[in-house]
């Protein structure tokens, strides 16, 4: 069945604008004269889940445009114009493989941002490993990042990393003792559910419901939720819930008389939440974009403007994806120009790399993390912002980070 997970409104005109922006960037004579660094974006850019891939694309374009506007990005003493090649994989593994082949072989790219989910990321894994091309998936399957695989870098916080941090915070501040988990029967949510259960047990929580699932295409959640809320857990975790489903689950739980806390480890959309669940959305805890308004730097503000120019409007959910191209560029700058064509040079530089986080007001550093989960540093250490819904909008509960 078609995935019902819809994320964020996409404007046709905005997309057309994005294409125009790429074309304009190419046409500029100043850039044509200098060397160019080309980066690929591969992800879902059409259909119901288009927002996921479009976020990656427009973030890359925004970063590229910002550097191109100031005469390029400096690598080894030379300025490079930055060019983005975007490919739509339609969330179809078959098409994703063709796209990966095109980007790595036909276009000769060594750095690709994306894809968005396990199925597409795992499909292109052999292609990327064979071609020794670095790629930055936003998918959580551990085999992508654990040896012998060495070319994938997780672009965001994995929900299995976020879970323990959130539960620990809630134990301390709200005194929760019992917990229940509910997930869609799909790879990402199920993995997150398992990881969440393991983390909760480690923290000494009493896990009342471990393996409740629902069909991804379900629309009425009363039958699914009612057996869970009967057990009255202190916290009900909606593992890896799709933004489209979250409000329906929240509403169902509350209408069935559930009084405890509700949380998820994935990013949500406030408009969808409040529209779908109304007053019931209050108090819902989720992981936010890594750049909520309260913590933005001036650089982030200008990024937001640049993004809006390319995409038509800023989208808070894109906040988790602003880091990818920035990290790639600075790591290459640190490793030296050979890294542009030889990713082993890049990988050698990963372990010791740090840079100040340009997107946050407060001083913090960006680095590669993931040793604990993957046995090697194959994750971008983006800050983890945890939100709570208050009066119909997100409020930052706390900012955490992963090792």
């Amino acid at each position: 069945m078609k995935r019902a997970a819809a994320v964020k409104r996409r404007h046709v005109l905005a997309a057309a604008g994005g294409l125009a922006a790429v074309a304009a960037g190419l046409g500029r004579p100043a850039i044509a004269a200098m060397k160019t660094f080309r980066v690929g974006v591969l992800g879902v850019m059409s259909g119901p889940d288009a927002a996921w891939g479009l976020h990656n694309k427009f973030c890359a374009i925004a970063t590229a445009n910002m550097y191109n506007a100031v005469g390029g990005f400096e690598i080894g003493g030379e300025k490079y114009g930055i060019e983005v090649s975007a490919m739509d994989d339609q969330l179809d593994p078959k098409i994703a493989v063709a796209g990966a082949e095109k980007l790595t072989q036909e276009d000769g790219l060594r750095y690709v941002i994306g894809p968005n989910v396990d199925t597409t990321a795992l499909s292109i894994k052999p292609v990327m490993e064979r071609n020794k091309a670095i790629y930055i998936p936003y998918a959580f399957n551990k085999t992508l990042y654990t040896p012998p695989a060495e070319n994938a870098i997780l672009g965001m916080i994995a929900s299995y990393e976020a879970g323990p941090i959130i539960y620990e915070y809630l134990i301390k501040t709200r005194g929760i003792k019992t917990i229940a988990f509910l997930a869609a029967n799909e790879p990402d949510p199920l993995n997150q559910q398992q990881a969440g259960v393991a983390a909760a047990e480690k923290l000494g929580l009493d896990v009342l419901v471990k393996d409740a699932t629902y069909q991804a295409s379900a629309t009425d959640f009363f039958p699914v939720v009612s057996p869970i809320v009967k057990k009255k857990p202190d916290l009900l975790v909606l593992s890896g819930v799709a933004p489209a489903t979250a409000p329906l689950l929240i509403k169902a739980a509350r209408e069935l008389g559930y009084k405890g806390l509700l949380s998820t480890e994935t990013a949500q959309d406030i408009k969808i939440l409040t529209e779908g669940a109304g007053k019931y959305a209050e108090g819902f805890i989720s992981v936010g974009g890594a750049s909520t308004p309260e913590i933005r730097s001036a650089y982030m503000e200008s990024f937001v403007k640049e993004y809006a120019k390319a995409a038509g409007q800023w989208d808070d959910e894109a906040g988790t994806k602003v880091y990818a191209l920035e990290m790639v560029l600075h790591t290459i700058a640190k490793a030296g120009p050979q890294a542009i064509d030889d990713t082993s040079v890049y990988k050698a530089a990963i372990d010791s790399f740090t840079m100040p986080n340009p997107f946050l007001k407060s001083a913090s550093t960006l680095q590669y993390v993931g040793q604990a989960y993957f046995g090697q540093k194959r994750q971008i250490g983006v800050p983890m912002v945890v939100n709570e819904v208050k009066d119909g909008s997100f409020q930052t509960l706390f900012v955490g980070s992963v090792a």
Partner: protein, 286 residues
């Protein structure tokens, strides 16, 4: 237990509108309306815009949720199906055309409405508690309105002149022609009413489930399941199919986690069709 009964009734009542619509079109046109779920989705979006976004009365939203899909249905019948069914050399043609209209509507909706999930405020808030089960008033509203609409439709088909023409057409196309039924107009009306029912179901359910542009396929599949259970083209079969599916879902979901429920529903359906290919109420076919 009470909850299972409540959930089953809510699901069955709303599914019945979907099943009645698709079975009506089937009985008159001998056509499986693949775009039924898409018409449901469009109806849901109409209520979302009229009631949710523009804050006009819910009933006006429902009216538009019935009219827009009905108009689309009428146009499909007049400009596409009538033409193709007249010249078609293979019976596949009209079905493939229906698949085409479904794909078309799916994508037009994606462009017009975006892929974002939408919801509307409740028309009435509060939760009724009966025998330990929870029944939000909103769901009660959906059940009552569904039942009223079903009664209205059955009355229309039974007693009105166009309704009788539809029944005649459903029974025997040639005989209806001989009896002086305007076949073209009645077909168009039947398609429009069937599509309008789908839109109404969507418009009612958007208050519970919300809507996004991708739900069409799933709704269509549910509609197919219901008419396969009950028998295609038979009103009583559609109602029975809705009852069976609604309670299968509510019992299944509370007894079995996740997607096993639908696996069982499908397997049971295939086994059932082996024994009784015409469905419970249907006439033998195939």
């Amino acid at each position: 237990m009470a909850q299972i009964l409540i959930d089953g009734s809510v699901l069955s009542a709303s599914y019945a509108l979907i099943a009645l619509g698709i079975t009506l079109i089937f009985s008159i046109m001998r056509l499986l309306n693949f775009a039924h779920g898409e018409l449901f989705m469009i109806g849901a979006f109409m209520v979302y815009y009229v009631y949710g976004a523009w804050h006009l009365p819910f009933v006006l939203g429902l009216l538009i949720a019935a009219l827009v899909p009905a108009l689309i249905g009428a146009c499909f019948e007049k400009f596409l199906f009538r033409r193709v069914m007249r010249v078609a050399t293979r019976e596949e043609n009209s079905m493939l055309l229906a698949v085409g209209t479904a794909i078309l509507l799916d994508n037009v909706a994606l462009f017009l409405f975006g892929e974002e999930q939408h919801g509307v405020p409740e028309t009435i808030s509060g939760v009724l508690q009966i025998a330990g089960g929870f029944l939000p008033y909103q769901r009660l509203v959906v059940v009552v309105m569904s039942l009223a609409l079903i009664a209205l439709l059955l009355g229309f088909v039974q007693f009105s002149r166009p309704g009788r023409a539809m029944r005649a057409l459903a029974q025997d196309r040639d005989a209806a022609l001989l009896m002086g039924v305007d076949v073209d107009r009645t077909s168009m009306l039947g398609f429009a009413i069937g599509a309008g029912l789908a839109g109404l179901a969507g418009g009612l359910l958007v208050t519970i489930q919300g809507v996004n542009a991708g739900i069409g396929v799933d709704i269509s599949i549910k509609a197919f399941i219901m008419i396969m259970i009950g028998g295609a083209g038979v009103v009583s079969g559609a109602l029975l199919g809705a009852l069976v599916l609604g309670f299968a879902e509510s019992i299944g979901y509370s007894a079995l986690p996740g997607s096993e429920t639908y696996l069982l529903i499908f397997v049971a359906l295939v086994l059932f069709l082996i024994i009784r290919p015409q469905g419970i109420m249907g006439h033998p076919w195939g």
